[in-house]
Amino acid sequence: MHIVNELYEKFKAKFEGVNGECYRVAQTGDLGDLMSDILTQKGVKTLSIFESPLSQAANLKEKLSKAGFEVHTDNLLATTAVDDAGITEVKWGIAELGTLVQIAPEVDNRLCSTLVPIHLALLKTSSILPELDDMLATIHSLPEIPSFVGFMSGPSRSSDIERTLEIGVHGPEQVIVILVDE
């Protein structure tokens, strides 16, 4: 647990350094309420969920619908183009860089983390790896390299106009990660 905490602290600092927001819960059961709070506070009304083990274990679809959000889980090309937020589970985090790593051969998984203005990612705290090289070695050791692996380090950005850093270009404008200990 000590190592996990250390990695978490490092990850959090780096992730916030690239303009991400980081939360942590002990139990899957705590996810629904926290998310509902975050989404409300950000003014979100509609959202898409790309279902995953964590989202299902936390029963997010039902809980968030009950909390009054309009929740979509299919036909995501149409919904992510208009929804206020998208929720996906990512596979790993890299503490060295504050990076979220998704394995996303499914098109909906990618849309739900790219096309929406707010991306909310779920990640197991124990899946934070120390360094980039650990991450590459882990991907490399899979039976085959997944057809899509995406690293995401905070919201999209550009300095193309007068070299001024602007957050939120074509990809999400806000990226939030909730780490789940359980």
Partner: protein
């Protein structure tokens, strides 16, 4: 002289205050941000690895391409090898046609700009949309990119607002965050409507058939996620052998290019992925990879240029280039590639003619080499372009004539003696010439020129008394033109120090111009002539060391062995010379430094590093130690001490409009230190900086380290 068209481009760029402001601010901020990003990482070790894996791939390119193709194909990608632009464009058109494509979204791909793919597709009536913010802006403006990673750096927010107002038919205010929103909204529609995506890749991994892309805006992810057909255009130099090799590039490229620890997105595509089809159902994307040669194999076949394959396109070299910082990318003329590395890429990939013209912009300062992620020797390759160009088409008459004169010792020296007398009307008895008549006036724009000394060093030498009891050995002094004819006092300082170290100094009279002017203008013939004259004239076998107080000369003397490699007898002598020649500060330090510690009079000194001394000869600490060990000297480091002063030999004559502003910045850095004296180890820098200080009426003096040491000790003796 430099081409007129190029001159015009330069003056346009220099008049563009937006560009100069943006580039100038960037140039200030970049080195600091970059250093911070590399804190805790061993840049040297990382770039050695980049060089290793990239050159391995280059040396085994056929095997690498086969491997990549096999592995990518096994995962459902369709790989096409395009020998040239035409083949690549035709293939993409064919793919588009087979899917009845009407609308294409693109994320940044320099290779596609190189082959003018957009133009080719538009011929077929296809709507092609650049989605990268900067690329979108310049496409609206009808411009080419002005920087490798910041393509629209030459435009202001006001100009962007006007372009967006025209495009959206709605008023856009010049507020950057709103402008970015406008682009987001406009592109969103394009992404959703597109039936095909086109992008480039940063790496193609042979071992796994994976493509990796590093981006920030998210447009590349959308481009490759939404449309049902996708084509990657990948130059064959992007291939690296193993998946794990990506680590080195992932660690260096973003830190070097934009001072980021990692780009916001790193996307890895291995074979086909899932996509939405036209009918709304999910299926498999039609996934094409074009491996583009288009001149790259010629690069690879050429021993001098194959190292270009090690380039990862991070743009660090451009970020630190003093010439680029002033004129920006458009002056480099290529429609895809800019700056020093761009000059080389342009030569092989788009237009040799353009490259031959713009290679002149390189000051040969070597700054780019220090930061290059692939360890490319850009100045060396640019010099090679220059040589080949001069060998092929010859030098312009005036340049050739000047070099012929300089390489003819007797003629050159008698001309300088005549000049010493003839300059009188312009110097009015002063040490500098402020104004020259008519066509020569460009030479004195923004700086004064030194007057030719009344008596050259070679005439003074026999009158110098050398009091060395039981000399430890003999050192031959190589003066070089500037020391001999303009700054003889430096020579006296060198002799005094070496005498104090216990050595006797001789002056071999047959020595001649070192040949650097010819070398840097691409005139091999005259460079060779100089090499022979000096190798024989200096006869280094007879002495313990050869000393020079000009790093450009020292470096030239050391390189004679390359020029004379086909002449075994001369080569032996040249190698002996190479092993014995040292720059003044280095040699004095090697011989144990100076005992006599100076007069103790307080003197604030700042130090300017000459490009050649620091980067070619690796000497930067020795002279600082000599100075700080002198009683009374307080050394105050200036900002950017190793940034070029703009002299660069004939460069300041060819491009006074670029050399001038580079000098201005140097002067500003000097003035800010509050020093009374700026010490240098190169007579060329001395001439340039003294000229700049004189024109701006600053009281600060410029002195060669040898001269300063002499003065500090002379006072004590009196």
């Amino acid at each position: 002289m430099a081409n007129n068209e190029l001159k015009k481009e330069i003056s346009n760029a220099l008049e563009n205050n937006v560009l100069r402001g943006a580039l100038g601010r960037f140039a200030q901020a970049y080195p600091i941000a970059r250093e911070k990003a590399f804190t805790g990482y061993d840049f040297e070790a990382l770039r050695n690895k980049v060089q290793e894996v990239k050159s391995f791939a280059a040396n085994n390119i056929d095997e690498m391409m086969d491997q990549f193709e096999r592995n990518a194909t096994a995962r459902g990608s369709k790989v096409f090898r395009a020998a040239n632009a035409q083949e690549a464009n035709d293939y993409v058109k064919k793919v588009a046609e087979s899917h009845n494509v009407k609308r294409i979204v693109k994320s940044k791909s320099m290779a596609s700009e190189e082959i003018l793919l957009n133009e080719a597709l538009r011929e077929d009536g296809i709507d092609v949309q650049e989605t990268d913010l900067g690329e979108f802006i310049i496409a609206l403006a009808g411009h080419h990119p002005s920087h490798m990673v910041l393509p629209a750096i030459h435009l202001t927010k006001e100009q962007v607002a006007d372009l967006f107002t025209d495009y959206t038919k709605k008023k856009n205010d010049p507020v950057i965050s709103y402008l970015v929103k406008t682009a987001r909204t406009a592109m969103r529609k394009k992404f959703l409507e597109a039936d095909m995506g086109i992008s480039g890749a940063n790496m193609a991994i042979a071992e796994t058939g994976t493509l990796m892309m590093m981006t920030n805006e998210g447009n590349a992810r959308l481009t490759s996620t939404i449309p049902k057909v996708h084509v990657y255009i990948v130059g064959i130099e992007k291939i690296i052998p193993k998946f794990m090799d990506a680590s080195y590039i992932l660690k260096t490229l973003p830190r070097n290019g934009t001072a980021q620890n990692i780009t916001t997105y790193v996307s890895m595509y291995t074979g086909v992925t899932e996509a939405y089809l036209a009918d709304g159902s999910k299926g498999t994307k039609d996934f094409h990879i074009v491996l583009l040669d288009n001149g790259r194999r010629n690069m690879l076949k050429d021993e001098k240029f194959k190292q270009i394959f090690n380039c990862v396109r991070c743009a660090a070299c451009i970020n630190v280039c003093p010439a680029f910082q002033l004129v920006g990318g458009h002056v480099y003329g290529g429609h895809a590639y800019t700056g020093g590395i761009g000059t080389l890429l342009t030569a092989f990939l788009t237009s040799e003619k353009t490259a031959n013209k713009v290679q002149n912009l390189c000051l040969q300062c070597g700054k780019c080499k220090e930061v290059c992620a692939g360890k490319l020797d850009i100045p060396e390759m640019i010099l090679e372009l220059r040589n080949r160009n001069a060998a092929e088409s010859g030098l312009p008459f005036t340049q050739k004539f000047a070099l012929d004169v300089v390489s003819n010792r007797k003629l050159f020296h008698s001309m300088l003696r005549i000049a010493s007398v003839a300059q009188k009307p312009f110097t009015r008895g002063q040490q500098v010439i402020r104004h020259l008549p008519m066509f020569l006036s460009g030479l004195t724009e923004g700086r004064s020129l030194p007057a030719v000394a009344e008596k050259p060093f070679r005439d003074i030498f026999p009158t110098i008394r050398q009091d060395v009891k039981n000399p430890k050995g003999t050192i031959a002094l190589y003066a070089g033109c500037l020391l001999d004819f303009i700054y003889p006092k430096i020579g006296m300082g060198v002799i005094a120090s070496l005498n104090e170290a216990g050595y006797k100094v001789i002056f071999p009279k047959e020595q001649s111009c070192c040949g650097a002017p010819a070398t840097y203008m691409g005139d091999k013939e005259n460079a060779l002539k100089s090499a022979i004259l000096n190798v024989e004239g200096l006869n280094s076998e007879k002495v313990d060391y050869v000393v020079s107080a000009c790093p450009t000369c020292t470096h030239a003397l050391k390189e004679y062995k390359d020029l004379l490699k086909d002449n075994p007898e001369m080569l032996k002598k040249a190698e002996d010379l190479d092993s014995k020649v040292f720059d003044f500060s280095k040699l004095i330090t090697m011989l144990g430094g100076l005992d006599d510690k100076g007069d103790g009079e307080p003197l604030k000194v700042t130090y300017h590093d000459s490009c050649h001394l620091k980067r070619k000869l690796g000497v930067y600490q020795e002279q600082r130690d000599l100075l700080t060990n002198t009683n009374g000297v307080e050394l105050i480091e200036m900002n950017e001490s190793d940034r070029c002063c703009g002299f660069a030999g004939s460069y300041s004559i060819k491009f006074p409009e670029i050399s001038g502003p580079i000098l201005d910045r140097k002067i500003q850095n000097i003035v800010e230190t509050g020093a009374e004296v700026v010490a240098v180890d190169c007579p060329g820098c001395l001439m340039q900086i003294a000229g700049g200080l004189d024109q701006t009426n600053h009281k600060i003096k410029v002195k060669h380290t040898a001269e300063l040491l002499l003065e500090k000790r002379k006072n004590q003796q009196e």
